[in-house]
């Protein structure tokens, strides 16, 4: 029995040695992209773009256009999650050189071009929202968004809805809760602003003022730092 255990241990060690080593550029690019996401969502504007530039530089060193497209789509998704516009020129250049159905579906989804989105190529977590968007069902959409497990994906879905479809308080509140729970200042302020606008448009001035005061207080605290 002892002999068998020792043989298994040796085989495990050998198996470990047989694992394919991760390329250095890929490892660094992954790290920089994660840093970019974190600094973007937390509102660290100074360190945001340098991290993204370093990530794309490392990916470019690996000559992988698919990963480069994913990096740019990640950037666009973060802007969508924070209710901001984005410049899609770089992604379109890559797509012309090396078209990919999944990337194009995700890009169209972010742009709010729901009818052109290939549902089968879109990540599964967004298919429910795609259906709700097609029927412009806000209740269903709120439900689908709440059902998304990944908080960033949840914010992206909320951003897509808020950017391109009628304002829904529940969806915005979900996004605010998600951002607050993760300490993501940039989308939090964006959704609070949007909620304030919604209340103003709905004629609920007192709640709008309360949201505005809350936002001003938060910004003031940030400025004091």
């Amino acid at each position: 029995m002892k002999k068998l255990l020792s043989v298994i241990f040796v085989l495990c060690i050998c198996a470990c040695g047989l694992l394919m080593p991760v390329p250095d550029w890929k490892d660094k690019a992954g790290g920089y992209l994660e840093e970019y996401k974190s600094s973007f969502l937390k509102g660290k504007e100074l360190s945001t773009e340098p991290h993204f530039a370093q990530a794309t530089r490392e990916i470019a060193a690996g000559n992988d256009l698919r990963l480069l497209a994913v990096a740019y789509l990640t950037k666009y998704a973060l802007h969508t999650a924070s209710l901001e516009c984005f410049d899609d020129s770089e992604f379109l250049k890559i797509e012309r050189l090396e078209p990919d159905a999944e990337d194009m579906a995700y890009y169209r989804f972010l742009q709010g071009n729901f009818t052109a989105v290939d549902a089968s190529a879109l990540p599964a977590r967004y298919t429910g929202l795609l259906k709700a968007a097609a029927s412009r069902n806000a209740v269903l959409a709120a439900h689908e968004i709440s059902a998304i497990g990944d908080p960033l994906s949840r914010l992206v879905a909320a951003g897509v809805w808020v950017n391109h479809l009628p304002c829904d308080e529940k969806i915005i509140q979900t996004a605010i809760d998600t951002a607050s729970a993760n300490g993501w200042q940039r989308p939090l302020w964006a959704y609070l602003e949007k909620l304030h606008t919604c209340y103003l448009e709905g004629g609920d001035k007192s709640r709008a003022r309360a949201i505005k005061n809350r936002l001003e207080l938060l910004k003031k605290e940030k400025d004091q730092k």
Partner: protein
């Protein structure tokens, strides 16, 4: 064949006589004894200067001589000249004859022929002889000089007469000079001598007195200015004057500048230290980079050994 003594003597005498005759004949021939002589007759209004045997010259060469002088019925002097045949070619119809009487040397007749191709002079013609007289020319030139010398002598005579005349100009000038020297010797002022007017001299004296007063006034003013200068000196250079104060300020400024110099030196040393520190920072940075890289390498090796590290996942959010 033998010759007799008499025959030999007779032959010697005959040969000697023949040689002598031949020599004489040759000498006579070479001297032109047998040469043909051409005679020409020249005319002149005066026979002065002409002499028999006078040479006839062409281009400085003697080509003949005057053979005879005679006076014709009309009172014209006829001069016969003889020219040997070898020289007759120089005597032409257009030849001119000049009696040249130099100041020094003997007189001669000079033949001038312009065109040697012109026909020979007809022996019956009597060309006139012109006269060139150097003595007369010299006298003619000396005459005006002698006149000038005479004038000078006359002027000298006039001058000496004037000098010797007691009422003459020279004596008057001497008299005036004597008066001037006597004036200089007298006690009269120079101004009086110059102006020759006593009133003017008085006016000048008064002006000089006033000038003296003015100078005394100027002296007083200068004394006042001196006092003012002293006062100014005191104000500027005195104990409480401006200059000592400025000196004090400058000394203070120098002390402060010295202190400032030290401060600047300190700042310089600080900046040098800082720059050296910056160099150290670069070294430190590279050391940190090396350390990070080493740690990174160690982490990678550990990852490789343990195999726990997963490949990064690239997917859209």
């Amino acid at each position: 064949m033998t010759m007799s003594r008499e025959y030999k003597v007779g032959l010697f005498i005959g040969a000697t006589a023949l040689i002598i005759i031949t020599a004489l004949f040759y000498l006579a021939f070479s001297k032109g004894v047998f040469e043909r002589i051409h005679t020409f007759t020249l005319s002149s209004k005066s026979g002065e200067g002409f002499t028999e045997g006078m040479p006839v010259v062409f281009s400085g060469f003697n080509i003949g001589n005057v053979h005879a002088l005679e006076l014709n019925d009309e009172g014209v002097v006829l001069i016969d000249i003889k020219i040997p045949d070898r020289h007759v070619k120089w005597i032409r119809s257009d030849s001119s004859f000049v009696l040249y009487r130099p100041l020094i040397g003997s007189a001669r007749i000079i033949v001038n022929t312009e065109n040697l191709k012109s026909p020979s002079l007809d022996p019956h013609k009597m060309p006139e002889v012109l006269t060139v007289n150097d003595i007369n020319d010299a006298i003619a030139k000396i005459e005006p000089v002698l006149d000038r010398v005479t004038e000078i002598a006359e002027n000298i005579r006039v001058l000496t007469r004037n000098l010797s005349d007691p009422k003459g100009d020279f004596h008057r000038v001497l008299g005036n000079a004597e008066k001037i020297t006597s004036n200089f010797a007298s006690k009269k002022s120079l101004v009086e001598m110059a102006v020759s007017d006593k009133e003017s001299v008085k006016a000048i004296k008064e002006s000089l007195k006033k000038l003296k007063d003015i100078t005394s006034n100027i002296d007083r003013v200068l004394v006042k200015i001196d006092k003012m200068a002293d006062k100014t000196d005191r104000e500027i250079y005195g104990e409480n004057g401006a200059l000592p104060q400025i000196n004090t300020i400058l000394k203070d400024l120098v002390i402060k500048l010295t202190k400032l110099d030290k401060t600047v030196d300190n700042i310089n040393s600080i900046s040098t230290d800082a720059s050296e520190g910056m160099k150290d920072l670069h070294i430190l940075r590279s050391d940190i980079d090396d350390a990070v890289k080493s740690i990174d390498d160690v982490a990678k090796k550990l990852d490789a050994i343990i195999g726990s590290k997963k490949a990064p996942e690239f997917r859209v959010p």
